[in-house]
Symmetry: C2
Subunit: 187 residues, 2 copies
DNA sequence: CGCCGAGTTGAACTGAATCAAGAAACGTGG
DNA sequence: CCACGTTTCTTGATTCAGTTCAACTCGGCG
């Protein structure tokens, strides 16, 4: 819980009562490796945060599984479209390691946002961060080749290779497993 | 101004005084075709809205010009990273047609957000919309081929071909002008 | 008429996907 | 602790979408 509150404070420093209020709507559960937090077709009601652990967001696309996001150690994640638009999610979420997962229900968040301008503002900052990350990822996909994207990922999470199967990493990078293998072993 | 206020109301229906307050920080200017709203290297202080008209956001990348965004008739646009992070923008913005452009200064917006929870919430919704669009565009770039992306663009703005040179459209779609030409004339 | 920018067409090339085997690592039961 | 099957990863050959480079067409317009 301290890590969660530290990450929140980093985005926008809430007053003490607001922080307490905000933290109060987060529930924590420890999931075994391979457990599903969300299945495809459900409306995703939660925004999540992983403690120490690893989580994968993926979906089915023409008999292939696409890894949409990988969240390791102390990071937020959620199904953007489903959470905001309240529509069933194509995405599924499962753990890659036994992980402590914190989750906050959409309705609780909305209710707090109504009551508290401060929390509304925090939430706005969280979305802004997502938007900027989304832009950066888009540019990476559009202009960087397989090798550059792989390097970028390694810079951000050097230990990801030891913790996530290559097939997931390849899909997350938008390349095939074979290409990733070649890129890794080149030179 | 009515169009601007209509688009705002669509995202989040402000109370009358809040709407008046919000509209009051927007200034309007009519720019001739080819005029620059923003040059690369400047911090972008504004969020923009085009009335009837057309605007292009672009940047220099290794002696090529990349068209990052095209905004036609009654749409918002801005340099996301520069606006939020207050860093110099790689992006430049110019008009493709004589256009009425509305602009809102970052600091005015922030001040209003401090004062008014309602406006903060509107702003949050605006960013959320951007985030969802960004996700959709990312998926389009990653998984759709040149022909599909072209079709998607046409569906969204059928008259864009008549108003924007092909070289800009190609770059916006992330393909070369030659490929766009082939895609257009195929079959 | 000749030039100029915008768009098209053709041919060669390239990065990554696909298809197809293999090799290595992993774990489960004997 | 080993043997076996399964999953994960690598390697090779071929194919393909899209790029690059170069030449060409077309429609203004001074």
């Amino acid at each position: 819980m301290e890590e969660l509150s530290a990450r929140i404070a980093l985005m926008y420093p809430l007053s003490e009562p607001a922080m307490a209020q905000f933290l109060s709507i987060w529930k924590s559960t420890t999931y075994e490796k391979g457990a599903h937090l969300l299945k495809a077709g459900q409306v995703s009601n939660y925004m999540y945060f992983v403690g120490k652990g690893a989580v994968r967001i993926y979906y089915q696309k023409e008999e292939k599984e696409i890894t949409e996001w990988l969240a390791l150690d102390y990071n937020f994640f959620f199904s953007i479209q489903s959470f905001f638009q309240r529509v069933p999610s194509r995405l599924a979420i499962h753990t890659l390691e036994t992980s402590e997962v914190f989750m906050m229900h959409h309705d609780d968040l909305m209710q707090l946002c109504e009551q508290s301008h401060e929390i509304e503002k925090l939430f706005r900052k969280m979305i802004t961060t997502s938007l900027i990350l989304s832009q950066i990822r888009m540019e990476s996909i559009q202009f960087e080749n397989a090798h550059q994207r792989y390097q970028r990922l390694l810079n951000g999470s050097p230990d990801i290779l030891k913790r996530v199967p290559l097939s997931y990493i390849a899909s997350f990078l938008g390349i095939t497993q074979e290409t990733l293998s070649r890129v890794r072993n080149a030179r």
